[in-house]
């Protein structure tokens, strides 16, 4: 009869998955030029940047690239002198494109496999925010069959269907210590899918000036009945049924892009891209468990994202018949409002600079390499939901290489 309020023991504050999680590594030539490409005719990456441009490509392409991504994030808790860092882990965004069309046809077909969203963060199980997040591995792989048609010499259009395979692996400490003082653990691991589309128009105003407009739709990715594993002290096991399942849905946002390409001389190409990422659809993140208990409730966390804008510029210089030098950069605004910053990918306004080099190794083979440095502005925040308070700062280092075969 000694009534105890063990009810509502813990409502797991599972925080979000997607946040500033857009990965813009879609083609080595484009990375080298500050991620511009919507208004350019470079190679098979147009499948992503602008399906409308695919029909204008002078050749057929098959190409692939990989960009090992070093995400170095640090946190200094408010009032602390102890900086905490993510462990060194390397995410591997990649892209594969194929473009083919009959000779002298106005029609081209394309296929793209790329990773427009993802995150790999591991803060470890001893840091001050472990009850918010220990580690997250989020991947979204888009498969995009594409068709593109040249209406006239100046205008071409294209459209692609997007199938998304998404996976998540999230771990978090549960504040229930066992008899050795060790925390409980939660792990949510699963995969799901979603669909969307990608449409674009490409305009060749003159031999020097090109424009592109592209719209990549929202892809709502749903993970259903995936495994949720809870490790808690034995006396509380009934409150945290394990194995359990979870269901969640994430809207990967739509992106509208406007691009301009200009060649002032034979050797130089400059490009500008503007991206509008419609993150404001991301209002809440919900987790529903297969089995709930008074201690394990479904959660709804407010996200209240805002749309983000990305301004990009880049240039390419043809040094000799076989060598291209590229550089570029940009500035992107954050999708995350004050009070909603979380450690999965502690988002902030960011600047980035890129350099790249392209070599025509053989008549039909391009080798391209690029390096990007991205700096997220230091952001001092108190999260409204968790009260995790402190300063986040993140640097991202991304080398990459690709091979493109064209004929």
């Amino acid at each position: 009869m000694r009534k105890l309020l063990l009810l509502a023991l813990v409502v797991l504050p599972f925080l979000g998955m997607s946040q500033g999680f857009q990965v813009n590594l879609h083609g080595e030539k484009q990375i080298g030029m500050g991620h511009t490409g919507t208004g350019l005719l470079q190679d098979g990456a147009s499948v992503l940047f602008n399906p409308g441009a695919v029909a204008m490509l002078p050749e057929n392409y098959i190409q692939g690239g990989i960009n090992p991504l070093f995400f170095e994030s640090s946190f200094l808790a408010a009032g602390s002198s102890q900086q905490e860092n993510t462990s060194n882990q390397v995410a591997t965004p990649f892209n594969i494109y194929g473009v083919w069309g009959p000779k002298h046809s106005n029609l081209k077909f394309g296929m793209g496999i790329y990773t427009p969203f993802g995150g790999l963060t591991n803060w470890g199980n001893t840091w001050s925010g472990k009850y918010v997040l220990e580690s997250l591995n989020l991947k979204a792989i888009y498969f995009q069959p594409t068709i593109s048609y040249k209406l006239c010499d100046a205008i071409s259009v294209g459209a692609g269907f997007v199938y998304d395979y998404g996976s998540v692996d999230l771990t978090q400490a549960i504040p229930l210590a066992n008899s050795n003082g060790q925390d409980g653990q939660a792990e949510l691991k699963g995969s799901g899918h979603g669909t969307g589309y990608n449409v674009g128009v490409f305009i060749k105003a003159s031999s020097k000036l090109t424009f592109g407009i592209d719209y990549r739709s929202q892809v709502t990715t749903t993970i259903s009945n995936a495994p949720a594993t809870f490790t808690v002290p034995a006396s509380l096991a009934t409150s945290f049924p394990s194995p359990n399942t979870f269901t969640s849905s994430i809207p990967l946002p739509a992106t509208s892009s406007l691009g301009i390409g200009y060649s002032p001389s034979k050797d130089w190409t400059v490009a500008f891209d503007f991206n509008w990422v419609m993150w404001s659809v991301y209002k809440t993140l919900e987790f529903d468990y297969g089995t709930t208990t008074p201690a394990l409730q479904n959660t709804v966390s407010a996200r209240n994202y805002q749309d983000a804008y990305d301004f990009r510029a880049g240039a390419q210089y043809q040094a000799d018949a076989k060598t291209f030098i590229r550089f570029g950069g940009g500035y992107a605004t954050t999708a995350v409002k004050d009070g909603y910053v979380t450690p999965e990918a502690p988002d902030a306004n960011r600047v980035y600079g890129t350099v790249g080099i392209g070599i025509k190794a053989m008549k039909n083979l391009d080798i391209d390499a690029a390096f990007e440095f991205e700096h997220l502005m230091s952001r001092t925040q108190t999260n409204l939901q968790s009260n995790l308070s402190g300063t986040f700062q993140t640097n991202v280092y991304i080398p990459g290489v690709s091979l493109a075969y064209h004929w």
């Binding site: 009869m1 009534k3 509502a8 808790a77 002198s81 918010v132 504040p175 006396s235 230091s378 009260n387």
Partner: protein
């Protein structure tokens, strides 16, 4: 093409650069206008690291003074030594351990036996008390479980309080050292002082039956004496106020509503639970029906209700006005009012005396009342004042968990930094655990 190699070198160098972590600048460590060369902690069981109904090694290691001292050392404080029990006597004076839950979800506690008892002594008026293994050596944490502010100038106190006796060189009953002299015997530069809780708490936890409230005038004069001694050589320090005793789970877990509901499950006709309650001045006791304003102690054995052998016997215990629940199990509404008015007066004294000496003040009264009302959210941890599940209070419902002590340490640190312009870093609350579950 000849430049290609150079570009590769640049790329390779950039990749090496990738090993660099971002660096977030922190302010240069400073002790401000304070001097932390020798920090001493003055206080009672909370200061000693008492938890789960006992003083034992793990609790001592997580005492709030120990946490403060570790953080202070980052800005250049000296060493801080506690009167730790040895690893072979780690269970110290014995304590309670959570060993499971019964079918209704009620916690089952099991006693862990004492290992640091060297004998017993029988003293007139106090009965037989244990004597604990003596501690000798350096000492900075002077926390003595059970001590009241009222006891600091009692020369015989080192005989009847075994926690104090173990720190003194002499054996009970030969000790004559006042606590006030003991703590000030060695030079020190900084202190924290959280004395005074037991001057109200001892009365409250005994249901107003086994102890008395310290007179407010006595409290004021002894507090002034204490602070004068502690600051005699210009030392700086921090004092804490006394929490509202009704905010602790010891008084909020076994509730009137829960008891009545439990009784009505078997006897639906029961409308009243009878208690022996005090008059407004706390001297005369008479039975009356309990209300939600009366608080039952955590240790009240609810199985006694309805027993015809409990209390004065014959009539069903607690259900018949002729056999009301004894005062020792209930802090009734009038007793609560008495405790509160005393605590309010004590806290006025603490704040005004501390202010007169320019000392930092951690207002534990306000802080714990806020937690009781609103909970405490930090680092994704949602804590509150509930028993066991709240994460702050230990199994005795009065003292704190390591996590609770870390939160208190941070409050002291914040008060010290604000007062003296130091920047002692806060402790990482996530690194300290709450109640441990089997």
């Amino acid at each position: 093409m000849k430049n290609f190699k150079n570009y590769l070198y640049i790329l390779a160098a950039s990749v090496l650069f990738a090993a660099c972590k971002p660096v977030i600048t922190t302010p240069t460590a400073t002790s401000g206008s304070a001097n932390f060369t020798r920090y001493i902690a003055v206080g009672n069981s909370l200061t000693a690291g008492y938890a789960d109904g006992g003083l034992y090694l793990a609790g001592q290691l997580n005492s709030y003074p120990s946490i403060i001292a570790q953080q202070m050392q980052i800005v250049g404080a000296g060493s801080f030594t506690q009167p730790l029990f040895s690893p072979s006597q780690a269970s110290g004076t014995g304590y309670q351990k959570l060993t499971g839950f019964d079918a209704s979800g009620n916690p089952q506690l099991t006693a862990v036996a004492a290992t640091a008892v060297r004998g017993t002594i029988t003293l007139p008026g106090l009965g037989t008390i244990p004597l604990f293994t003596k501690y000798t050596g350096a000492l900075e944490n002077y926390g003595v479980p059970g001590i009241k502010l009222n006891d600091i100038d009692n020369p015989a106190y080192g005989n009847g309080n075994p926690y104090y006796e173990r720190l003194l060189p002499g054996n009970s009953p030969t000790n004559t050292t006042q606590y006030l002299d003991f703590i000030t015997a060695q030079p020190f530069t900084f202190f924290t002082n959280w004395l005074g809780n037991n001057d109200a708490l001892a009365y409250a936890t005994s249901g107003g039956a086994g102890d008395v409230l310290t007179d407010v005038g006595t409290f004021s004069s002894k507090y002034t004496t204490l602070i004068s001694r502690l600051t005699a050589n210009g030392q700086k320090g921090a004092c804490a106020t006394i929490p509202d005793v009704t905010t602790i789970p010891y008084f909020n877990t076994v509730t009137y509503a829960a008891i009545l509901a439990g009784v009505q499950k078997s006897i639906p006709s029961i409308q009243n639970i009878y208690i022996l309650a005090a008059d407004p001045i706390g001297t005369n006791y008479a039975y009356r029906p309990a209300t939600a304003s009366d608080l039952f102690v955590l240790t009240f054995p609810t199985s006694l209700i309805g027993s015809t052998t409990a209390g004065v016997g014959t009539y069903p215990y607690g259900l018949d006005p002729r056999n009301p629940i004894e005062s020792k199990y209930v802090l009734d509404a009038n007793e609560i009012a008495l405790v509160r008015s005393h605590v309010a007066s004590f806290n006025n004294t603490i704040k005004s005396v501390a202010s007169s000496k320019g000392l930092a003040v951690f207002d534990a009264f306000t802080f714990l009342s806020n937690i009781k009302a609103n909970g405490y959210l930090i680092n994704g941890l949602s804590l509150n004042s509930n028993y066991i599940s709240g994460g702050i209070f230990s199994l005795d419902g009065v003292h704190l968990t390591p996590r609770g002590y870390a939160i208190v340490a941070n409050q002291f640190i914040t008060a010290i930094n604000n007062q003296y312009g130091s920047n002692i870093p806060l402790a990482n609350v996530s690194a300290y655990n709450g109640v441990m579950f089997p």
